[in-house]
């Protein structure tokens, strides 16, 4: 049986470095299996978050050979074995220990978003064709890989004034819910800083659920913000129609 060398980050925010482990490869093995092997046979205190091991919970995010991935869905046989496989924690979040990062910022952003607010007197009829685009957003498993890879967070550290792709997806799922009745455009503009996004689509590329974050969530939301705050004609139309919500 062939072996792989894994180079795994051990340490915390202040001190730490890579450590190498030799792991036997089994058929169909994923990186998370290799990390579990290390825990069970070599170093039981290696800290890794995981839950379902099936790509459904979004817990096991890390950077494998420099690429942000779910380790449970990263096959060992898809990686070159002539050099060590590097496994590092997500770069945009403070390291708690080893591969475990402090993602609490995401939970704080989430709390800023007004909840689903149905139209009064709705009969709860909805049609599949009106829901398809929202169901795409509801597939999000909150792995936070999109947050991790976004320049605004990763390179410019604008966590205080920016929401990040995950929460644009969440806002989109509410704004485009067929029965929702409030506008979150002001929140997007002022508190979630959607204007910082310059649509480089890095988030879309790393999404394990293949949500078209930029095209289907962020761009339509940017248009809403423009319509609501910067377009004088739309402003007038809204005034006449009294419609609370764009689009």
């Amino acid at each position: 049986m062939a072996d792989a060398i894994l180079e795994v980050f051990r340490g915390n925010q202040e001190v730490g470095g890579a450590k190498q482990y030799t792991v036997p490869i089994t058929p169909g093995m994923v990186v998370l299996d290799a990390l579990h092997y290390i825990q069970a046979h070599l170093e039981p205190d290696l800290a890794v978050r995981w839950n379902c091991k099936a790509g459904k919970c979004g817990s096991c995010s890390a950077e494998v050979n420099g690429k942000p991935r779910l380790t449970c869905k990263t096959r060992m046989d898809a990686l070159p074995t002539d050099k060590p496989i590097t496994v590092y924690p997500m770069k945009s979040f403070p390291v708690i220990k080893d591969l475990v990062t402090d993602v609490s910022w995401n939970y704080r952003v989430n709390r800023k978003i007004p909840p689903f607010t149905p139209k009064p007197g709705t009969d709860w009829k909805m049609y599949q064709e009106d829901m398809d685009r929202v169901q795409e957003f509801r597939k999000c498993i909150e792995c936070f890989l999109c947050q991790n890879v976004c320049h605004v967070v990763r390179d410019h550290h604008k966590k205080e004034e920016f929401g990040g792709p995950r929460f644009f997806v969440r806002v989109a799922s509410l704004e485009m819910h067929p029965l929702d009745n409030v506008s979150r455009a002001k929140l997007l503009k002022d508190e979630l800083g959607i204007g910082y996004c310059n649509i480089t689509k890095c988030c879309t590329e790393v999404c394990p659920e293949e949500i078209k974050i930029t095209d289907n969530a962020i761009i339509p939301l940017k248009e809403r913000v423009v319509d609501e705050f910067y377009d004088p004609i739309m402003k007038l139309v809204r005034k006449i129609r009294g419609a609370p919500k764009a689009g």
């Binding site: 039981p44 839950n51 379902c52 979004g58 689903f116 599949q128």
Partner: protein
């Protein structure tokens, strides 16, 4: 005076242990009732095992099959459970689940639709009518996200990555819990007037399981240690269809929705073998029966290359398969190199669900200790000897809500209990002991050996001989578990955490083996090769496990008698 100044301490009216569907639903109800609520979660919020539920939530909405009603759902649940269910739980569940589903929709959940704009419902094993409300094959994610959002909106207080290691009691009343933060390894005292257990199942005691690492029977073990009764512990559900290949994904769930959408099971000879075992219901027979059928086919040499059966949905149009079963499509493509729109999946039984658990009162979810409530998989009674698919998600919201309501009512009329520093000191000492030992076993090794005992001796088919051996082996494992050694520091240390999880798994495993040994018959998920038929007397009684000093005590209680009008509903077809 006490340790209390030494520890971070929080005080709430209602403490909810577990942040899956039942825990979150309980929290929402308790918050709405005005209680101060804390939810403790072993993982991050939104990652609980509920997230993996795939096929749907069962509720007699009658959107697709107009003839459906709570009565039929009740009948299906009771008959699926082989009539040892708590009938009142089954009745409440069948009556209340449609309203709980509508409520999820009102909180923002988006279920797939019928052409009339109503919630679409699909067929599932053991359900007479198309009854499962669903979102493709990711219903659990939709549900947990909806409950999470609702909870956040109400200002829910969640202690993430915090693990409870002991319930605290004042006399026999439960008055809080002692736990630790995984991040710093620091202990915390959680005082509460009422505690709701919503910790899920025990799949991780078996090596082939659909369950996540969290499912280590915590709630059942903690309740047992505090003195509460456990019920029906012999009834462990093996889901018929888990992945069997490659090894790393062995046990991973293949949703029953594949069969609900028309998937066909075949053996290596190409025979549609369910014709032999249940010609009437075929692939949509109950889970216990389908799991045994696959197991038998494999054992008799008609299995697939890797020891499973073939499950095929490729006769349906590829676009339909991708739309209705998107995560199955991706799961097989990415992890097993199989395109399920073109060829069959290899599947075999996987440990999936615990029908048994904490014994509760049907109306109030109260456990046998004052101040303790339980809901969801950690509680017992609703599913009897075998759970129908889709009845778990509805269980979570029906009884999660009741638990939140009753726990907050109990808290409102109860004074705060006294915290016994001796209990805390004992728990702390036990928890830290593995660090002190210079020499000792790795918890991962003991866990692996426990899993092998459960798989080989307490699996789908059981015998008196195997179960007796299992109990002897468990005794040895218990001894080994007292001599564990943990390396490293207290900071986010999975080895240390496993040392503590092992204790829970060992208690629950013993309860399973003892109950299974006692029940000398085959019923639902409990199959005894040496007693292959149902027994009339055993059909009238449930096994109860409780603690007597350091010993596990087993006794039988009569199955609750159904009122006549309900008895008629579950009677055999004329």
């Amino acid at each position: 005076m006490t340790n209390q100044t030494k520890y971070e301490t929080h005080e709430h009216d209602v403490l909810i242990i577990g942040a899956g569907g039942a825990g979150l639903r309980a929290a929402i109800e308790a918050l709405a009732a005005g209680a101060r609520v804390a939810v403790v979660s072993k993982s991050l919020l939104g990652k609980a095992h509920t997230v993996m539920a795939e096929g749907g939530i069962a509720a007699a909405m009658a959107n697709v099959d107009k003839a459906d009603s709570w009565k039929t759902h009740f009948r299906d649940t009771m008959r699926g459970g082989k009539l040892v269910n708590n009938w009142r739980m089954a009745q409440l569940h069948a009556q209340e689940s449609p309203e709980r589903v509508r409520e999820l929709e009102q909180w923002g959940a988006l279920f797939d639709r019928t052409s009339d704009g109503d919630i679409l419902q699909r067929a599932f094993g053991g359900h007479t009518f198309k009854r499962l409300c669903h979102v493709g094959d990711r219903t659990g994610l939709e549900m947990i996200r909806t409950l999470q959002d609702r909870g956040v909106q109400l200002g829910i207080d969640v202690f993430m990555e915090c693990t409870v290691i002991r319930l605290l009691t004042d006399g026999n009343r439960v008055v809080g819990a002692f736990g630790y933060w995984r991040e710093q390894g620091r202990f915390v005292v959680l005082k509460a007037k009422a505690v709701v257990m919503a910790t899920g199942g025990i799949g991780k005691a078996w090596p082939v399981t659909s369950n996540s690492w969290e499912c280590t029977g915590d709630g059942m073990a903690l309740a047992y240690e505090a003195g509460a009764d456990l019920l029906d512990m012999e009834f462990v559900q093996f889901h018929p269809t888990g992945m069997v290949w490659p090894p790393g994904v062995q046990g991973l769930l293949v949703t029953e929705a594949v069969r609900g959408e028309g998937g066909i099971l075949r053996n290596k000879l190409g025979e549609r073998f369910m014709e032999k075992y249940d010609p009437k219901r075929m692939e949509l027979s109950t889970r216990d029966l389908v799991a045994r059928s696959i197991y038998t086919e494999v054992k008799e040499g008609r299995g697939s290359e890797h020891g499973g059966a073939f499950l095929d949905i490729s006769h349906k149009p590829p676009e339909y398969v991708k739309q209705k079963l998107p995560s199955m499509y991706h799961q097989f493509k990415e992890l097993a190199d199989v395109d399920i729109t073109k060829g069959p999946m290899e599947v075999g039984p996987t440990c999936h669900y615990m029908m048994g658990g904490i014994r509760v009162d049907a109306e109030t979810t109260a456990a046998s200790l004052p101040g303790l409530f339980a809901a969801g998989e950690s509680a017992a009674g609703l599913h009897g000897a075998n759970r129908l698919g889709g009845n778990s998600l509805s269980d979570l919201v029906v009884f999660g809500r009741r638990a939140g309501l009753e726990a907050s009512a109990f808290a409102a009329k109860s004074p705060a209990g006294g915290i016994d520093s001796g209990q805390i000191a004992e728990a702390e000492h036990d928890m830290l002991a593995p660090f002190e030992r210079g020499d000792g076993e790795n918890p991962y090794t003991v866990h692996r050996d426990l899993q092998n005992v459960m798989q080989n001796l307490v699996g789908i088919f059981r015998t008196e001989e195997d179960l007796t051996t299992a109990l002897a082996e468990l005794e040895k494992l218990k001894q080994r578990a007292t001599r564990l050694r943990v390396e490293g520091s207290r900071l986010f240390n999975p080895g240390w955490h496993l040392a503590r999880d092992l204790k829970c798994m060992l208690i629950v495993s013993e309860a399973v083996a003892r109950s299974a040994l006692a029940r000398k018959e085959s019923r639902g998920a409990h199959s005894r090769i040496d007693c292959p038929n149902p027994d009339e007397q055993w059909g009238k009684q449930n096994n109860v496990i409780s603690r007597e000093g350091d010993r596990m005590k087993l006794r039988q209680i009569p199955v609750k008698e159904m009122p006549d009008e309900l008895r008629e509903l579950v009677a055999d077809d004329k």
